[in-house]
Symmetry: C3
């Protein structure tokens, strides 16, 4: 490299190091390693291989190789997950020996929940199959449905969130968000037989509670209605409660921590809800009036749209 | 590892293996290997290198190296695609020798369709260039437009869908969905000069039929209107028919298997359509009435929005 | 391989090569290498490691290793970025020696802007933290928020866009679009303290101007209102101007190059705006009227929704 180019680089280095002194909030200088996002993604993949065994691993799963298959994945997980949890816990400070013990405890409690998560996921796959005329088999759902992936990651992340692990749960759900367009906060609590169809644009806020047999379509927001509280609202119930057997069609928005959508309710496409809805009600927006124009004669035409209550994409 | 830790792992292994017995639907134990998603993604990439030759491969494409370039990609594809199709066909059962012959036949028929798909893609690139003032060159469109990627994968997957290959077509379109936010079912039939702008949130259902010169913007749903048929509706025409030269602006939803959007129709942003629209009609929602509040005087203000019919983002 | 199979491949090769002659627009045969998308992604990652130093690199960042850390990343960047910019500039033609000099100049000017981009990003992280009750730390925001990633890439790409680099800026923002569902054109100009929450489905057009302290929620479109100009409109201001301290809630659409959203305005969810809004105004759609049906008695129920102005998800 020429001395001139060398000099230019030296200038850039100095400018950046100066910037690190000035904006110290967005730089991380530590004695210990940081959480590694690539390892967090590997952990999700290993967990998926345990839950949907035989579908995603590189190796063939044989009847007499089950224990070996599980054992190998679990050893990997114990090592990687404990290490990343330790790093996450360190961001809260405390003695290293306590952090290590706590990381070990959390890892084992979490892994002990996997059989329960498997049972939940089996109900979610059932719901996707029963609810979607385009599904040709359960294999197809497990192998390709983004809703199943987002629900899986959100169930896993929710357990770590409840075990009070910092950073990792949100990194996990944001990874799923990136792959699916489905943004479920790890704080959200979700019942069994959950079905997300298409999924892109779905937002489920931190304090949402979702019952059993709930179906949610693309573009649905379960959000907060507030008065600019910002950090003051941290921890407050801000998002709705959705009871059992509720269906929420595409583009609908439901806001507010006191909003309860009662059992069996059907919320129509694009509805905007900020109050509770009593059980067994079907809610629909009155279709926005349509205007018609013909290119040639420029005449107005009436256009009657019937009422409708159920649509599945 | 300590005997205690070893014991904990052993417990976890037993719990999971027990769970595999109980939830047998979501585990895959087979004598043969499963479809490998990573290979399906490689297949898409190799097909893209064939279609948009010279744009994506790692190697420089030279005039006198064309045949070698194509030959090498095709040999890869023949090997990988045939193998994955064989695995997909096995999920339906049948004799191995028939499966192998069928996989070979399908692979060759499919690859023979590539020149036709190239011609279609050339029209799609033209449409993107002509329709988008922000496009600075066709190279930019091929290298970076998510709509082009989603259309490409959906044209490829549709051919495999029509050849009745299980699992792989949907895995392909869901991969594109993951990368683009555009969810086109491989069953959808799409004409030439198709233009998807921005694309995030677009949903095109399985039995949709789309004509030539159609433009679709972000957040559009072409969906089904139904009465909770679930699996009973499998195979029934449930999604709309869009005729030639139709433009559908952002956020519009069109539902129903009998809904036909006639030639030359323009559907305005956020319109919600459940009935057929005659040709050459421009449809717009009457803009939702707006409410205004001034912070200081709290007075209401009138706000006139003109009519409008064409907007391009 | 059997002679028969060999023959089939030869036929496919010939068909494709023939197709390359016929559809020459979508093939790239050149004496020089093309822009490599994987390297463009590596460049984004290296730039992110410089901006959020210590958060994403594989190596631990130590106080006394700062200069070395920066120097190593910068040398990588100088090499890779200059090379890709050279390839991009070549698509416009011209003498190789001028292209090389121009690529070197642009690369240095661009890298010199990094400290300024760091300062801007620090304000964006602050805005995310202050505005989102679900954010538990700034680390969480940097490590996992898609909005921060999309803003970062868009700030970087905007500098290259202003330096008139072809192809690469849009490849960068489309990579971010793919990962986040947030589609910001590199031409858009964005002030400090920018906050994108959730983000999926956001579209920000090429000629948009955004002030300081602006918040934008999922599904918002800042688009163009036009009369089918296509390429004729290239370069014309087609997208809105958003002044300081504006908040735009989920699903709202704002169209038109003459549309100015004044300082301090709040735009409610799903509003559809095609005219300017004076400063300090709060705009909301009158909630679409809701229809209720009870399953059992089929009776209509009144449902009062209050007015509301602020909601945060």
């Amino acid at each position: 490299m020429s001395p001139q180019a060398d000099n230019k680089i030296q200038n850039l280095v100095e400018m950046l190091v100066k910037s690190y002194r000035e904006e110290a909030d967005i730089i991380k200088i530590e004695a210990k390693n940081q959480i590694n996002k690539a390892v967090v993604v590997d952990i999700i993949e290993d967990l998926r291989c345990l839950i949907f065994a035989g579908f995603f691993g590189r190796k063939r799963l044989k009847e007499d190789g089950l224990e070996y298959y599980v054992g190998e994945l679990l050893e990997n997980l114990l090592y990687n997950l404990e290490k990343q949890i330790r790093r996450a816990l360190r961001t809260r400070g405390g003695r290293e020996v306590r952090i290590a013990a706590e990381a070990e405890r959390i890892t084992h409690v979490f892994l002990g929940k996997l059989p329960r998560i498997r049972s939940m996921m089996a109900t979610d796959v059932d719901s996707s199959f029963d609810g979607d005329p385009a599904a040709s088999s359960k294999d197809e759902i497990i192998l390709s449905y983004p809703g199943i992936y987002a629900i899986l990651v959100s169930r896993l992340a929710h357990e770590l969130y409840q075990l009070d692990v910092p950073l990792i749960p949100r990194m996990m759900t944001e990874h799923a968000h990136s792959l699916t367009g489905i943004d479920i906060h790890p704080g959200a609590s979700i019942g069994h037989h959950f079905f997300l169809d298409h999924g892109t644009g779905i937002v489920v806020g931190e304090t949402t509670i979702i019952g059993d047999y709930v179906k949610v379509y693309q573009g649905v927001t379960l959000g907060a209605l507030s008065t600019r509280g910002g950090q003051i609202l941290n921890g407050v119930k801000r998002h709705p409660t959705i009871e059992n057997h509720v269906t929420i069609y595409s583009g609908a928005s439901i806001f507010g921590g006191d909003t309860v959508i009662g059992e069996g309710v059907v919320i129509g496409s694009n509805a905007f809800i900020t109050k509770s809805v009593p059980e067994k009600t079907r809610v629909s927006i009155r279709n926005p009036e349509l205007q018609f124009k013909m290119d040639e004669k420029n005449q107005s035409v009436e256009f009657q749209q019937g009422e409708f209550w159920d649509y599945v994409i």
